[in-house]
C-alpha cells in the first residue's frame, strides 16, 4: 500500500451524493443477504433451544416427527423401565409420554388460520422440559378442560390469552396460564392434561416419549437397546437433534432462495459501484497522472482504486448489517414445513453472519472496482495529465 488509504476515504467523503447512493445500494443488498441468513438461523436457533442435551425423544420408527408417531401402552411400560432414565424427587422415572396434535387457531393480526401444536402433557413433563416456566396464571388442573399457552401463541392467536378459551373436540378449553420456555419452539405451543386430551380426541395412545437421562453419555447404549428391541419399533434421538432436524426444510429453502436472490440482486449494486468508480477515475485522471509522475507505479494505482472500491462496499456492508441487526428486535412467526405447525422466532445474528455479510460486501467491491481500477492503472500518463 504505497498510496495512503486516507487518500481514498477523503475522496469518497468529497463526493457525498455519489458515495452515499452507492453505499446505500450495497447496503440494501447486504441487508437482504444478512436478513435472510438471520432468518434461517433464527429458526434453527429456536428449534435447537427446544431440545435439552440430556433428553432423549422416542418416536415410532420412520415417523420423522411426533405428529405421525404413536407409542402403544405396552411399549410405554417397556420404555419407562430403562435403567438410564433419571428419577424425579418422588422416585418416579422422568418420562413424559405426550400427545401431539395440531389444532387450527386464528391469528390476531389477520384472522388467518394456522396450525398450532397442542401437546397433552403429564406430571413429569414440566420436569423433563426443565426450561418451561409459568409466567402468568397457574398450572392447569388435571381432569379439567384447562390449558396453559406458550408466550408466543398467547401473543399471536385469538382466544389464547389468559382467561380466554379455545374450542376443539366439542369442548371449550379455558386458558389458565401462560408459560415461557427460553425462546424455544415450546413457546409456540398449547399444553393441556394428556389424559383429558386423549379422551377428547378419542385417541388410545400417546404420540411420543421424552426421557431425561441420568447420564447423557449413556444415550448410545439406550438408543441401541431400544431400537433393537423386537417388541418396540421406535427411533430414539437426542432431543436436541430431533428438534434441530426440524429446521432442515425451512432453513435450506430460505438459504437457497435468499442467497440466489441476493446474488442476482447484487448485480445492481455492483454495477452501481462500477459506475461510481468509473466516474471517480474519470474525474481524477489528472491526479492519477500526477501520482505516476511522482513515481507511483501502475500497480500502486490499481491497488489504490481497488481499496477505494472496497472501502465503499465495506461501508455499504456495515450499513446493511447494522440495519439488519435491528431486525433481531422483531419476532416473527411462520409455519415450519417440517412440522406443519406455527413457529415463532426472532432474526438471530451471529459473528459468522456478520462476517459472511461483510465478505459478501467486499466481494461486491472487488467485482465492481476491478475493471475501473484496471482502467486507472492502464491510463497513459500523458493522456491522464492532459485531462481536465
Amino acid at each position: 500500500m504505497k498510496i495512503p488509504i486516507y487518500y481514498n476515504y477523503r475522496n469518497l467523503l468529497a463526493r457525498k451524493l455519489t458515495t452515499g447512493l452507492t453505499v446505500l445500494g450495497i447496503g440494501l443488498v447486504v441487508f437482504v443477504f444478512s436478513g435472510v441468513l438471520m432468518l434461517a438461523y433464527g429458526i434453527k436457533k429456536t428449534l435447537v433451544a427446544t431440545g435439552s442435551e440430556d433428553n432423549a425423544t422416542v418416536i415410532r420408527k420412520a415417523s420423522l416427527t411426533e405428529m405421525m408417531s404413536y407409542i402403544t401402552r405396552d411399549q410405554v411400560s417397556i420404555i419407562e423401565s430403562q435403567p438410564e432414565i433419571a428419577r424425579g424427587p418422588d422416585g418416579k422415572p422422568l418420562v413424559a409420554g405426550e400427545l401431539y396434535v395440531l389444532i387450527s387457531l386464528n391469528k390476531i393480526k389477520n384472522g388467518d388460520a394456522a396450525n398450532v401444536v397442542l401437546r397433552g402433557v403429564g406430571p413429569a413433563s414440566m420436569l423433563v422440559h426443565s426450561g418451561v416456566k409459568l409466567i402468568e396464571g397457574r398450572m392447569f388442573t388435571e381432569g379439567l378442560p384447562e390449558l396453559i399457552v406458550g408466550k408466543s401463541t398467547a401473543q399471536g392467536f385469538q382466544g389464547a390469552q389468559l382467561g380466554g378459551s379455545i374450542r376443539f373436540a366439542k369442548q371449550n378449553w379455558r386458558v389458565v396460564g401462560i408459560f415461557e420456555a427460553g425462546k424455544s419452539a415450546f413457546e409456540s405451543e398449547v399444553w393441556g392434561d394428556v389424559n383429558q386430551m386423549l379422551a377428547a380426541f378419542n385417541r388410545p395412545v400417546v404420540s411420543s416419549m421424552t426421557l431425561k437421562l441420568a447420564d447423557p453419555s449413556k444415550f448410545t447404549a439406550l438408543k441401541e437397546r431400544l431400537e433393537k428391541d423386537p417388541r418396540l419399533s421406535v427411533d430414539v434421538k437426542r432431543e436436541k437433534e430431533y428438534y434441530a432436524d426440524q429446521s432442515y426444510a425451512m432453513t435450506s429453502f430460505i438459504k437457497i432462495l435468499g442467497v440466489v436472490i441476493s446474488v442476482i440482486f447484487s448485480f445492481g449494486a455492483v454495477i452501481g459501484a462500477m459506475i461510481t468508480m468509473y466516474a471517480n477515475i474519470a474525474n481524477r485522471a489528472k491526479e492519477i497522472g500526477t501520482l505516476r509522475v511522482l513515481g507511483f507505479k501502475r500497480r500502486n494505482i490499481l491497488s489504490s482504486f481497488l481499496v477505494e472500491s472496497i472501502l465503499l462496499s465495506l461501508a455499504g456492508g456495515v450499513v446493511g448489517v447494522v440495519f439488519a441487526s435491528f431486525l433481531s428486535m422483531k419476532t416473527i412467526s411462520t409455519t415450519n414445513w417440517d412440522t406443519f405447525s406455527e413457529l415463532a422466532f426472532g432474526f438471530a445474528v451471529t459473528p459468522e453472519i456478520v462476517a459472511y455479510s461483510l465478505i459478501f460486501a467486499v466481494v461486491m467491491g472487488v467485482v465492481g472496482g476491478f475493471l475501473p481500477a484496471v482502467r486507472a492503472a492502464r491510463m497513459n500518463i500523458l493522456t491522464a495529465l492532459r485531462a481536465e
Binding site: L21, V101, I332, T335
Partner: protein, 385 residues
C-alpha cells in the same frame, strides 16, 4: 422532438456509464420479475382450483380425518353432484428430504372431479384393476426416473412400513397451472392394509371433494354440509377449493411477505443507481445548462431534456430487464421445479416492473432538474465539472 434527440445524444455521451446503468436497471427489473414469479408460483395451486369444487376437512385441523360414512351424507345435500375423497399419505421415496406430494384417492371417482388432470384410458384401466397401482405426474416421473409398469417402494411416515406400488401410468396437466409432481395411490389399498394392521385407523379419509352444480351455490352448500355434522365427533369445515388452497399458502405467508419486501427493495436499488448516474451527469453539465439558459432555453426545456434522458435510460433498462426475465425465470424454474411445480412469469408482473422503471426514471430526474433549473447563469458558467 428536438429536445428528445438532444436528450438521447446526452445519454450517449458517456456510453460506458449509460450502458452500465441500463444493464444495472435491467438486472434489477429482472430480479423483480423473478421474485414476483416465485410469489405467483406459490399461488399456482389456488389459481388452478375450480370454482365449482368444495373441500370438506375436519374442523379441528386437516391432520384429523373424517369417517368414510360422510360420503353418502354429503351426496344427499342438494346441489352436490359428485363426491370424491382423498387422504394424505405422506410417504417418501428413498430419501425423506426429497419431498413430493402423495395421497390416497378414491379410484372410482377422483379423476372425474379433476378434468384438468389428464389420465389416458389405459392408465385409468390399470389404476382401477390393480390394488397397489399408482398414477404419477410427469415431473415426478422424470425426477425419479419412473416408467409405467415400474415397481416402486415408498416408505411410510404416517402409515409405517414399506409400500410397494406399481406405476399404472403418468398423468399430464391440461393447464400450465396444473401440478404434475404428485403421486396418487388407491385409498382402498391403504385402508385394507390398515384394517389388517391398525384397525382403529381404518375407515377414515383426509378430505372430501364435492362437485357442485353452480359456483353461486358454494356458500349455501358449504353451510349445509357443515351443519349436517355439527356436534358430531368430527365436525367439518367446508370451503371452496380456492380457499382451501389459500389456507395452505397462508402458512408460508411470512416468507411471501419477506419476498414482497425484497422486491420493493430492488426497486430501491434501481432508483439509487439511476439517481447516481443522473446526478453525475447533472453535475458535469451544470455549465452547459447555464449556457442553454443564456441562449434562451426556458426552464421547462431543461426539465424536458433531463427527464427525457432519465426516462430513456430507465425504459431501456426496463425493457431489457423484461426481456431477460423470461430466460432467467425458465432457468430458475427448472432448478426449483421440485419446490415449485408451476413456475410461470405473468404479463402483469412485467407490466408492474415496467411501471416501476418508469416511475424510477421520473424520480431520478428530480434532483438534477432542481439543480439545473435553480442554477443561475453566472454560477453555472463559473463552475467546472
Amino acid at each position: 422532438m428536438k429536445i428528445l434527440k438532444l436528450a438521447i445524444k446526452n445519454a450517449g455521451r458517456h456510453k460506458l456509464r449509460t450502458g452500465l446503468t441500463i444493464v444495472g436497471l435491467a438486472v434489477a427489473v429482472m430480479a423483480f420479475g423473478l421474485i414476483r414469479t416465485v410469489i405467483d408460483a406459490w399461488y399456482a395451486g389456488a389459481e388452478a382450483s375450480a370454482p365449482d369444487r368444495l373441500v370438506s376437512r375436519n374442523a379441528v385441523n386437516i391432520i384429523f380425518p373424517l369417517p368414510l360414512s360422510y360420503k353418502e351424507q354429503i351426496l344427499k345435500v342438494p346441489g352436490v353432484e359428485k363426491v370424491s375423497y382423498a387422504h394424505w399419505f405422506g410417504a417418501y421415496y428413498t430419501d425423506p428430504k426429497q419431498f413430493f406430494a402423495n395421497f390416497a384417492v378414491d379410484h372410482h371417482t377422483y379423476f372425474d372431479l379433476f378434468p384438468e388432470v389428464i389420465v389416458d384410458s389405459q392408465t385409468l384401466a390399470n389404476f382401477r384393476s390393480q390394488r397397489n397401482a399408482a398414477v404419477v405426474g410427469q415431473i415426478l416421473a422424470d425426477r425419479f426416473g419412473w416408467k409405467p409398469g415400474d415397481q416402486v417402494r415408498l416408505i411410510g411416515t404416517i402409515y409405517p412400513g414399506d409400500w410397494d406400488l406399481v406405476i399404472a401410468g403418468i398423468y399430464h396437466g391440461r393447464d400450465k397451472t396444473t401440478d404434475e409432481s404428485a403421486l396418487m395411490l388407491r385409498w382402498d389399498y391403504l385402508d385394507e392394509t390398515l384394517r389388517a394392521t391398525v384397525p382403529v385407523r381404518a375407515g377414515y379419509v383426509g378430505w372430501y371433494i364435492s362437485k357442485i352444480s353452480s359456483p353461486a351455490e358454494a356458500v349455501r352448500i358449504s353451510a349445509a354440509i357443515d351443519s349436517m355434522f355439527k356436534n358430531s365427533l368430527a365436525e367439518t369445515l367446508t370451503q371452496t377449493e380456492k380457499q382451501f388452497q389459500l389456507s395452505f399458502i397462508a402458512m408460508s405467508g411470512t416468507i411471501i411477505t419477506a419476498l414482497r419486501i425484497i422486491s420493493y427493495l430492488i426497486i430501491g436499488i434501481l432508483l439509487l443507481v439511476l439517481t447516481n448516474t443522473m446526478g453525475m451527469s447533472a453535475r458535469e453539465r451544470i455549465s452547459e445548462y447555464a449556457v442553454m439558459k443564456t441562449l434562451g432555453f426556458k426552464p421547462f426545456h431543461l426539465v424536458q431534456l433531463i427527464a427525457d434522458e432519465s426516462l430513456f435510460i430507465s425504459l431501456s433498462g426496463g425493457i431489457l430487464g423484461i426481456l431477460l426475465t423470461f430466460p432467467m425465470a425458465s432457468g430458475f424454474g427448472e432448478a426449483m421445479k421440485y419446490y415449485f411445480p408451476v413456475f410461470e412469469t405473468k404479463p402483469q408482473d412485467l407490466l408492474v416492473a415496467g411501471i416501476f422503471a418508469l416511475c424510477v426514471g421520473i424520480l431520478a430526474s428530480m434532483f438534477p432538474i432542481l439543480k439545473a433549473t435553480r442554477v443561475s447563469i453566472v454560477d453555472g458558467l463559473r463552475s467546472i465539472g
